[in-house]
Symmetry: C2
Subunit: 128 residues, 2 copies
């Protein structure tokens, strides 16, 4: 597990993670992993994050079914950020808890953050 030791975990034992969709190249979400989450991600082949709000491992999609199949994991030059290439589950693929494809759906326009991407599925029907 030397590869786990090469990560420069922060003071809380976490590393930021960017999830990018294979094919489209869309940035789907940003989250954190600890050692256990990264190891579980590699073992399962599906993204497992560390939920800072719930303080527990979070197998992405465990409630919604919107799991992320992980194809590739990269680390940056400083070894303190991870980049996942994933296939996002859902029909259509939905990564955001708001029911949108990506969490990055608000764009700065004329001094305002405007929602520019549609809700693909009512969150009430995703989380029952």
């Amino acid at each position: 597990m030397a590869w786990l030791d090469e990560i420069r975990w922060d003071a809380d034992g976490l590393v930021p993670v960017i999830a990018q969709e294979r094919g489209s190249g869309d940035i789907l979400m940003f989250a954190f992993m600890n050692r256990d989450a990264l190891r579980a991600t590699v073992e399962r082949g599906e993204a497992v994050y560390w939920s800072r709000s719930r303080q527990r491992l979070w197998h992405k999609g465990e409630e919604s079914g919107h799991v992320q199949t992980v194809h590739e994991i990269r680390v940056d030059c400083d070894e303190d950020v991870l980049l996942l290439t994933v296939t996002q589950a859902g029909a259509p693929p939905i990564a955001c808890h708001t029911g949108r494809h990506s969490c990055f759906f608000r764009r700065l326009e004329d001094g305002e953050w405007k929602s520019v991407d549609p809700v693909l599925k009512d969150p009430a029907t995703i989380y029952k």
Copy 2:
């Protein structure tokens, strides 16, 4: 400047920022901004980050010439991560201080982080 107040700045007054290349969709780098950096980025139309190591504003490319022209700024659903769409300067475009296109040049393969992207320019000739 209400749009600046909508960002959920962390305890250090920072927000993580992902820089994605327009066209290729490549993730070039990951850095941080504070309020002044984000305001300067919008005003200049070029990425200005907050350097945590140097504790000062960092106009990306100020030494290397590898500036990033910013086309779009997005915020995520939690309003605590930014995504920039940029054109990376350089011929070829180089974002990483190692002389590579992207900072994410190491991929996990069989339990090892392997460098899989080439050095495009010797860093010694970038930073004089």
